[in-house]
Symmetry: C2
Subunit: 332 residues, 2 copies
């Protein structure tokens, strides 16, 4: 047996995003898994498309990922970007991967232009807010915050031993969930998920410790392994990137109306935007240019069709969508 060559398995996980009908979707597959610590039989849980990196066959990590996704969802990826590499002991999600090999998982974000029914197998597009209901502020503050999350977190903070730790927890809750002096920062998806995990308010937390589910319902739909964490990482990254790189256009057809563009951004950012200001920002910012054509049947006055202006890449250092937030959940 070779000396330092220990048992490491690298899992490549893809968060494939599309926006259809104004809703952000993530591509999932069903995985049959054994629920440890429970008497139940096998059950299917949602998972991201994933597969092991093959050190012999894959020339780069990204090529390995593309191969797996192609195989599991017959979708060929365009834009792909690496997210993060995790290897935390105890977050593998109650699956021992056979023989105790150490699992290192690398997450990727990929953007797809269309949410076609998605292939052969069990691949399925899911609304990403299914996993993070508290992240959708498009129609105002999600009720689950006041009803379950903040009370749950407050209890967790109170449960801390020393006063100093209680204070730290309180401050962390305020900053990540935008309470009091802090404001909601849509980019902190991962921080929020990690906090909920620590406070054992998401299903994975107890599962990973081998405990039975809590009596109160867990927040959002769980996923296998650490896949929900990876999805949270992807959402954070995408919401941030939106602002300084023209990534939205990877999710849109070559031509689109400004409303379609705005709805796509809103779907991703999880917040409503001021229509006129949004239009001014993208037009004056040189991100898009109108092509003469109009789109009828918009339900109102016909809208001009636009396309992405590639030239902006050379003109501006960080071309992205500023987010002119609409004060309240107001109509567009």
């Amino acid at each position: 047996m070779a000396p330092r060559l220990t048992d490491i398995v690298i899992g490549l996980n893809a968060v494939v995003i599309a926006v259809t009908a104004g809703e952000p979707r993530v591509l999932t597959v069903r995985r049959v898994t054994h629920s440890l610590g429970r008497a139940t039989a096998n059950e299917a849980i949602e998972a991201l498309p994933f597969g092991p990196f093959d050190p012999a066959g894959h020339r780069t990590l990204e090529l390995g990922l593309r191969a797996w996704v192609g195989e599991q969802t017959d979708l060929s990826l365009g834009y792909v970007e690496q997210l993060y590499t995790f290897a935390d002991l105890g977050r593998e999600g109650g699956i021992s991967e056979g023989d105790g090999a150490r699992v290192v998982s690398i997450g990727y974000l990929a953007l797809a232009r269309e949410a076609k029914p998605a292939g052969q197998g069990e691949a399925q597009w899911m609304d990403w807010y299914r996993y993070f209901p508290w992240e959708d502020w498009r129609r105002g503050r999600p009720p689950v915050l006041a009803e379950a999350i903040l009370p749950g977190l407050a209890a967790w903070a109170r449960s801390a031993g020393e006063a100093e730790e209680r204070r730290r927890r309180d401050e962390r809750i305020r900053t990540t969930f935008g309470e009091a002096p802090a404001r909601w920062d849509e980019e902190r998806v991962l921080e929020r998920y990690e906090l909920l995990y620590e406070a054992e308010l998401v299903g994975e937390a107890r599962r990973d410790r081998g405990l039975p589910p809590a009596d109160q319902l867990a927040l959002g739909q769980p996923m296998v392994f650490d896949h929900r964490r990876i999805l949270a990482t992807a959402m954070s990254r995408l919401r941030g990137k939106l602002k300084y790189r023209p990534v939205v256009f990877e999710l849109l057809p070559p031509t689109f109306t400004l409303l379609r563009l705005q709805q796509t951004v809103e779907a991703l950012a999880g917040m409503g935007l001021h229509k006129q200001n949004f239009r001014r920002l993208v037009e004056q910012g040189g991100l898009v240019e109108g092509i003469g054509e109009m789109e009828r049947g918009t339900g109102g006055r016909p809208a001009e069709k636009f396309r992405f202006r590639r030239e902006v890449l050379v003109e501006r250092p960080a071309p992205g969508m500023r987010l002119p937030v609409a004060r309240r959940a107001g109509p567009h």
Copy 2:
């Protein structure tokens, strides 16, 4: 032999940064390595502190990294952040790691408060512009750009077969190196390095292909493996993060003058900043607060000492240093 458990070695690489005397430093160690494809004997090349991830002993990747750095440099890290995971075949730097195990390298960025002479072994703090001389615009545009880089890149672009490819290369050169309509974007350190690598203008490019060094001198000091690429990633990340997270303060003592703060930012960003505007931004932005004391012996009027205002973390969503660029290399 276990089924899919192939030979993977994960290398943990640390880019440890400090700023001393207004210069950004990176912690390096010397590595004896065999230069493939050359008749020379072993020689010592600069490297980042690194070591393999131990799947049996390390609970998380980050803990593994901290262990290695502690061992090689007796420095204990504070702020640590993961950068990127690479596994490209052919970029391992002419070292076969014994028996053909696949090397996956994970880069980390760490910030240190002081550049003490750095420990026992061969650990040494190096000016990071030693590896990227073209990234330092503090005293104006680095001459190496006009003298070597742009001509070299232009030649590379011309050498492309089809016209279309030549056009693509030209555009890429313009955007990454800030030519013509594009402006220099200090964050694109990695993109610039990758471009130079492709154009074979850095030493690693030919070395990785087993070729002898080119006659014309290579740009910047090379490092082992893909370490210079990892350093470039770190610089990009740090230069970006500076603007939306108060990371500079991880590099400064608890109290400091505004000039010291500005010089630290300038050292990292590689550009001169407008003094009065910089002061206004950090003060009005609530990032710092004066403590009554003064520092004499500044060479001029005494300067007030400031400290980081932690409260800003709860007040603002993305507290960082805007960079009020100074038009020319002008004096502060």
